[in-house]
C-alpha cells in the first residue's frame, strides 16, 4: 500500500466513530500496537524535542524501505506516533519526504496540529521526515 492508501484506511477506521471518546479510545488502543523502540535507543539522542511527554523514535532501512519504531511515556502521545508510523513505515524514503499529513485533520485530531499543543505532533512529523531525508541521501 502507498502512504496515501494507508492514510485513507486510517481515515475510514476513524470515520466509524461518532464522538471524541470513541476516537480517543481507538487512538489509545492503536498506541498499544506501536512497534516499540529497542531499549538501547531510548536515549536523549532519540527524544523528539517540543513534546510535553517523552517520545523516542528510531528508524532503520531495509530493501530501500524505512521502518520506524518508537515509544512514549504518555498513552495518547503513543497513539499519535503509532498512527504516524503506521502511515510511514515500510515506505520508500522519497515517498515519506513527499507525503502530506492532511489525514490527521480528517481523523478529527486537528487540534493536535496546533503549535500550542504540547504533544509536538508537528515535531514528530518533522523528525520522521528527517530520518527519511537521511536515508534518502544514503540511496544516492
Amino acid at each position: 500500500m502507498t502512504i496515501a492508501e494507508v492514510q485513507n484506511e486510517i481515515i475510514d477506521e476513524f470515520s466509524m466513530f461518532d464522538d471524541w471518546e470513541e476516537r480517543y479510545q481507538y487512538m489509545i488502543d492503536l498506541g498499544k500496537t506501536l512497534p516499540l523502540i529497542d531499549e538501547q535507543y531510548k536515549t536523549d539522542d532519540h527524544i523528539i524535542k517540543g513534546c510535553q511527554s517523552k517520545v523516542w523514535v528510531h528508524a532503520d532501512m531495509k530493501d530501500d524501505k524505512v521502518n520506524f519504531t518508537a515509544d512514549s511515556d504518555a498513552i495518547i502521545t503513543k497513539g499519535i506516533i503509532a498512527i504516524l508510523i503506521r502511515a510511514f513505515s515500510g515506505q520508500h524514503p522519497n515517498d515519506i519526504i513527499k507525503a502530506d499529513t492532511d489525514f490527521i485533520d480528517k481523523i478529527g485530531l486537528k487540534e493536535h496540529l496546533s503549535p500550542t499543543r504540547a504533544n509536538g505532533l508537528v515535531s514528530m512529523i518533522k523528525q520522521l521526515k528527517m530520518y527519511a531525508i537521511a536515508y534518502q541521501t544514503q540511496l544516492k
Binding site: 511527554s53 498513552i75 504533544n119
Partner: protein, 405 residues
C-alpha cells in the same frame, strides 16, 4: 458585602462559553485569571474616549489619560500600602519587574557576593539571577525544600552571611501553592544587610500584601493574575533602592535632560518607565484592583479555602492519587498525579470535557526533579469557581482515568 458566587460569575462573560461542546470549567487560574466586565469596560472606555500618549501632550485627551494612569498608580500604591506612589513602577509583568531589579544589581554586585534563591522558584525567578551571577562573579545559593513543599528555614539560616546581598523568593509557589514565610525570610535577610525581592505573582490573587509591614525591599506582580489584562504588572521598590538602581532601558520619558555629553535621568517612577507605557493596561490594572477589593480579600480567602478543602477531600477519594505540596499554608492550587498516568494524557482528556487545567512542569523544573516526576496536573481555583464545577471536574477526571487504564 455578602459573598455570592453566582452573582460574581455574572461579572465574567467568558465563564458562559463552551469548550468542545461542554460548559467551560476553568481551573487554570494560576496561569492567568479571567477578566470581569468591569475591567473590560474600562479598557473599552479608554480606547473609545480618551486614548492618548501621556505625560507629554497639553491637550485634553492626554491630560485625561495621564490622570487616569497616575490615579491607577495611586490605587496600586494604596492597595499594597507603599509609602509613595512613585515607588510603584509599571512594568510589562512579573518577569519584566524581576529583570529590572536583576539588571540594576549587576552594577552593585561583585565577585564573592552571594545571591540566595529558593528551591520553589518559577524559571523566570531563576534565570535572571543565573545571568546576573555569571556577569558579576557572584554565586547563587538555593534554599532547599522539604517533601511537603516547604522551604527548610534552618538551611536558609546556614546560607545567610555578610556576603549575602540579595534574597529572592516567591510569596506563593506557582507549582505547589505553598505560602512561604516571607516575613521571617525578610527579617533574617535584613539582619545580614541583604535586600529581598518577593515574587508576588501567585499571592496577589489571594491575599493583600502590605509592603511596609513586610518591610520588603522589592515586591512584584502581574495584573493578569488578578483579573486584569496581560502585559502589565508592577515593581514595588523602596524609594532608597529604586534611587540606587540604574535605569533598565534608555528612551523617552526616563530622561530629564539630554545633551550629547550627558543625560540626566528623570525622577522616580519615570526613570524605570522608558518609552510610551501600556497606558490602557495600567488603568485597567487599577480597575482590577478595585474589583478585587470590592469583593474583599477576606471573603476571597475564606471562600477559596473552602474550595481548596472540598477539592482536596474529593480528590483524595480517587485511588492512586498523589498530591504534591501538602503544606498547611497553601492557596487554592492542587498539583497532583494519578498512579503512573502521564499528566499530559489527563490534561488532554479533561480538555475534551471542557475542563481547563495546567499540565507539565509549570515552569518549575527543579521542583519536578526534586519529586522525580515528569510533571503534574495542576488545578487552581479562583473565587469565581464553584463546588459544582469541582464535582464536574472530578467526574471528568474519573472518566479520563478509566479511559487511560
Amino acid at each position: 458585602m455578602d459573598f455570592n458566587v453566582e452573582a460574581i460569575r455574572k461579572d465574567f462573560p467568558i465563564l458562559k462559553r463552551e469548550v468542545n461542546g461542554k460548559p467551560l470549567i476553568y481551573l487554570d487560574n494560576a496561569a492567568t485569571s479571567q477578566t470581569p466586565q468591569q475591567v473590560i469596560d474600562v479598557i473599552v472606555d479608554y480606547y473609545s474616549n480618551y486614548n492618548a500618549n501621556i505625560h507629554r501632550g497639553v491637550h485634553a485627551l492626554s491630560q485625561e489619560a495621564t490622570d487616569a494612569y497616575e490615579n491607577a498608580r495611586r490605587k496600586i500604591q494604596k492597595h499594597f500600602n507603599a509609602q509613595h506612589p512613585y515607588e510603584i513602577i509599571f512594568t510589562s509583568g512579573t518577569t519584566h519587574s524581576i529583570n529590572v531589579v536583576a539588571n540594576g544589581f549587576a552594577s552593585l554586585l561583585k565577585e564573592g557576593d552571594e545571591v540566595i534563591v529558593s528551591a520553589l522558584e518559577h524559571h523566570s525567578n531563576i534565570v535572571p539571577w543565573q545571568m546576573l551571577c555569571e556577569k558579576t562573579g557572584a554565586s547563587l545559593k538555593v534554599i532547599p525544600m522539604s517533601l511537603e513543599g516547604e522551604l527548610v528555614l534552618s538551611e536558609y539560616d546556614a546560607l545567610l552571611n555578610e556576603t549575602t546581598k540579595l534574597v529572592f523568593v516567591n510569596h506563593i509557589s506557582n507549582a505547589l501553592g505553598t505560602i512561604n514565610p516571607i516575613k521571617t525570610i525578610i527579617e533574617k535577610a535584613h539582619s545580614v544587610g541583604a535586600a529581598v525581592l518577593v515574587d508576588g505573582a501567585q499571592a496577589c490573587p489571594h491575599l493583600k500584601p502590605n509592603v511596609q509591614e513586610l518591610d520588603v525591599d522589592f515586591y512584584v506582580c502581574s495584573a493578569h493574575k488578578i483579573c486584569g489584562p496581560t502585559g502589565i504588572g508592577m515593581l514595588y521598590g523602596k524609594q532608597e533602592w529604586l534611587k540606587k538602581l540604574p535605569p533598565y532601558q534608555g528612551g523617552g520619558e526616563m530622561i530629564s535632560e539630554v545633551t550629547f555629553e550627558k543625560t540626566t535621568y528623570a525622577d522616580l517612577p519615570h526613570k524605570f518607565e522608558a518609552g510610551t507605557p501600556n497606558v490602557c493596561g495600567g488603568i485597567a490594572f487599577g480597575a482590577a484592583i478595585d474589583y478585587m477589593n470590592t469583593i474583599g480579600f477576606d471573603a476571597i480567602a475564606n471562600y477559596e479555602n473552602e474550595l481548596l478543602e472540598y477539592a482536596t477531600s474529593e480528590l483524595l477519594k480517587i485511588e492512586g492519587i498523589k498530591i504534591y505540596g501538602t503544606s498547611k499554608n497553601k492557596t487554592s492550587v492542587i498539583s497532583f498525579n494519578i498512579g503512573n498516568i502521564h499528566p499530559y494524557d489527563l490534561g488532554t482528556l479533561l480538555d475534551k470535557m471542557g475542563v481547563a487545567v495546567r499540565t507539565g512542569q509549570h515552569c518549575a523544573q527543579p521542583i519536578m526533579d526534586f519529586y522525580q516526576i515528569p510533571g503534574t496536573v495542576r488545578a487552581s481555583f479562583m473565587f469565581y469557581n464553584t463546588k459544582e464545577e469541582i464535582d464536574l471536574f472530578i467526574v471528568a477526571l474519573k472518566k479520563s482515568i478509566m479511559m487511560l487504564s
